[in-house]
Symmetry: D2
Subunit: 348 residues, 4 copies
């Protein structure tokens, strides 16, 4: 079988490294080139030591990129929108993992990102990258913009509720707990181990940019509000979104079960996790390390109309590289699970 030839632009970061790992083991892919300006000429396993003995590839400069079937862009925000024309010349298909082409509305982009978008006319060319919401579009897409990690967990947790118009529009509060890999591989004072270890650090209590994606994907034409906060805790990978929504009607837990089963019953990467006993009663991000699953659970408050929805992912997998490969599989008609079979470890 002919393999799809792909290259990764920006492969020295954490997301780029995970993409590379997944693609090296993907049976339908040939990884052609991987770029890094800082490490040009170095073996990739010097930076991603887990790949020792798996590949002898070296980083090249982006200036050396050749044409290929599909480009993965895994660059800091703002790069894609400024260089998009060059990338389009290199490949007919692009999956961008930055935030540049996630929003459809240029005004919203400016509101949340604080500057004008460089290429607003292209915003609608990109399909927003959550397969569970945009599967059919992806099958025909040439350009996909992968979703933010916090947005992915939050949207997947709340989508069935907002879609079915079950929750009050303006009251949703989401608190995500995130690990240090979300901040990328650049050293800073806050990431210094003696300071970062053991923290419960309220790093973005308000106005997190991922909120804009959530509003775009689950408002369904209504004016809704999402009150989002992010707290950094002592973990490397993983993300738990605790979503507090308020039900319009007096639904029971069995009704909520039905809503989620109807929405996600056939999804290969979504599991409803809700047990009445044992120690694994709700989603737990550590069990998802290395997997592409999004685990979703919930609990109805007996004393009010609050429903707490709990959603967990591995931020570098379902929140980034894994989701991008899932979208890639859809674009090429491969089984959606190809290359994403790792079930996770226990204990870990």
């Amino acid at each position: 079988m002919t393999k799809v030839k792909v290259s990764i632009v920006g492969a020295s970061g954490y997301t780029g490294g995970e993409l590379l790992r997944l693609l090296l083991f993907h049976p339908n892919v040939e990884v052609k080139q991987v770029t890094s300006e800082s490490y040009t000429g170095k073996f990739v396993h010097k930076i991603h030591p887990n790949l020792r003995k798996s590949t002898m590839m070296k980083f090249v400069s982006a200036s050396e990129l050749e044409t290929c079937d599909l480009l993965f862009l895994s660059l800091p925000h703002n790069n894609s929108q400024n260089q998009i024309d060059e990338y389009k010349k290199l490949a007919p298909k692009i999956i961008d993992l930055s935030a540049d082409f996630r929003l459809k509305n240029a005004h919203e982009y400016e509101k949340w990102y604080g500057h004008k978008h460089a290429r607003p006319e292209l915003l609608n060319e990109f399909v927003y990258g959550i397969p569970e919401l945009h599967r059919e579009e992806m099958k025909k897409a040439n350009y996909i913009s992968s979703a933010g990690c916090n947005a992915t967990a939050s949207i997947l947790g709340l989508y069935p509720l907002f879609k079915n118009n079950l929750v009050e529009e303006d009251r949703t509060v989401i608190e995500v707990k995130v690990g240090s890999s979300e901040g990328g591989n650049k050293v800073n004072e806050g990431s210094h181990h003696p300071e970062r270890s053991g923290v419960v650090r309220s790093y973005q209590p308000t106005q997190h940019r991922h909120t804009a994606e959530m509003l775009q994907e689950i408002s369904f034409g209504k004016k809704i509000q999402i009150h989002f906060s992010a707290t950094a805790i002592d973990m490397v990978r993983g993300l738990l979104a605790t979503c507090h929504v308020f039900l319009k009607e007096n639904l029971q837990e069995k009704d909520i079960w039905k809503v989620y089963r109807d929405a996600y019953g056939n999804e290969p990467f979504i599991r409803i996790v809700k047990e009445n006993e044992g120690i694994f009663r709700y989603p737990e991000p550590k069990l998802l390390i290395g997997t592409n699953y999004c685990d979703i659970g919930f609990k109805k408050d007996d004393f009010s109309n609050r429903l707490v929805v709990i959603s967990a992912i591995d931020n570098l997998m379902k929140g980034a590289a894994g989701q991008a490969v899932q979208a890639f599989n859809l674009m090429y008609g491969f089984d959606e699970r190809t290359g994403l079979e790792f079930p996770g470890l226990h204990p870990i």
Copy 2:
């Protein structure tokens, strides 16, 4: 100076151990007896190894208790309400660290605890144990009921806002992140290290009992709602409460500053922590390990009327033993800070 003779009933648990540590180094206290039924006759330092070389005390059985000036009760819930008459015979003053006498209303007790209170007529004899709210009552009190740890952080964070009628009554959402010491020293499957390490476990998404204390202390006669959740993370000590409240009026951050300064400007154990730069911008529980501080910060959402209040404590100190000693100091007219001077460590 004559020292106050105190005994601790239930001194083998984590809270009892911390109480003992604080009291052994308190200049106005003589610790007379400490009880444990499981470890009767053993040196306390076999169970609390930090006290090696600090004391040669041994645990006695509660049946051997002699009279003293004040009894600290640090027992599992339900014990105090059933044995209170015996304890009253042993000492004219009591500080109870269990949940038994925190609520004033027996109906509320039954609603949240699921059974009738054994001695509802005594509920009003106890002063609720947060000194910042009940200082003057404590100075005259014989019986004090120490507050729950989650309640302490939440109440101290929100008290000035509710007192001044600044927030919408029914919309408050509180998410606390807690460590494993909150669960006590009894082994269980969920506390087994390979399972507990690295968790972000939604252990009580709704109906947490501490909610009842919050409602009691900050409703000020109104009907309010507090939507509380607790998530266990990989830490031993410490607690961060992230409180989402919604302002009735368009207040600015400088207005909020004033509210907190007015409320807590003279408090020895409350610090307003809010920096615009650096890595210590909001309260951080790890910096409070071993201290009696409650650090409070906040952030106003520019895009809505939400105010995020962030409140941190050491659950075993300001959330239990430290707060009890602070109350003790007030009861006896000692400087409130006596025995509680430890400022915490950095780095940690």
Copy 3:
């Protein structure tokens, strides 16, 4: 292709769970039955939540075991030696992951395990389970006894040196740092998270039983001594052995490189890790989580004849389940790497 039908006796523990995960995804295997006396009738994913959506198998009692091609025994020590006749009736091939059949010498067994072996006459029926040392025997074996995790890392680190008679016989000191999963899934006071978290606990400074396996495998007919200690640290999976050996001759690092390359140059699961720059200079167990690799590095002391050999594995993989599957592949003539391709994650 006909698949090999295997069953796992004792599949509710950590090693049994990892075996099950590997075998479920092994292309040449059909997992027939998995036993647990405590969880008979329960879905395996209730105990191994990572397997949700991967299998709907349930635990059966060992009394319900049917015949199969190969039995994996993953039971507490002492069980295999007492029940071996029953197991032999169920399957013509057995891989035992307990310590029961690791030693060839019944006197050594008694010395280190403190009691007589139940079936000393069978000790020589089992091949000791490190493929790198016993590959050819395994290809013809019916019975394999998987090696201990500490022994595996230590033996693989030192084997080329002792084989080539390069080190002083009586001076080797080995210090392993181990995680909490090594202790299994049974709760105990020492594994309670508040006590176990953050420890550097000298849990077995002398007389560790795995020493006997090391002596057996690397003494090559000489009388040698291995001074072994194990320290538990705050991690779940992983093991680093720091081995201090003393060279007989004045070898340089390039000589040592050659010794290891000659020994392991073609090994699929051994990597020599030794860099002069960067942050990944020596083996690091966290990079091996979920993999079957043993990474080995070394450093010669410029001021003495000491050579420090550093060897890392995932104790549940190369130290248990992974190594057992590697042996299984050899027994059946499959590619040794089948089902063990996962390269590990970075960051983690």
Copy 4:
């Protein structure tokens, strides 16, 4: 009582911060100035947030230093030896926490530090800073050079054995497990949380400089060898030294007990920790966080003449700031424990 006026040169680092904390709460000390070139003019609590509400001091530049009674030097290595004349003019007494004046022999300094000492003639002016070994000299000293953290734990663990000529001279192997605070507060790639978290990193397998101090302090005129390695693990504070020594005579554990009791029975900051039951059988660094204790335990190998000595400290306390304050107390005739009473926490 007149207080001793002290200043700290280099107070923005972790050791300087801990010194400041201890001295602010020391009843016989007035902290006059604290210097930092990077943070001149800033409140110290911006850098050491645990000191919020404890002091309103600001950092000054070293160029603004005024005369005082005693200077603490807490600077990177090499600074003290080059600036010592200036410091001597500022104060009649100096405690240097760098490595510059620890060694008495300039040749040894050059061997281990790789460059010539700038002021070899001054090396003998400084008393080596372990009070348990040099108490009487300290009482008369004007200049003290605080010991290295790894050296402190190792020396205190082995001193009684070497002093009494009980162990073979050339066979000692020491493996220390260290936390990230030992590396100081400067950010680097290896300290980035996603890379540093969870490591068991062999950061200095051979030729660690602290070895030179050990040789100086415990050789007692003989030619001895110490084979030292350091492994970084996932903790912030704390250090455990596992020391493997080989006994010349057939001593029993009760004999070893006697050796340690004779040596340390009256020491305020040394505890012999060795229990036959329970979970606190050997020294555990996490129990020492914030304390000045050195806990020492041991285990005799039944199968050889090896004795394993286990020694734990808080590297920033007994290994740095705490030990310096202990020395300070001796210089001034204060009770050695003054300002160092904190007993540590449990659980932690």
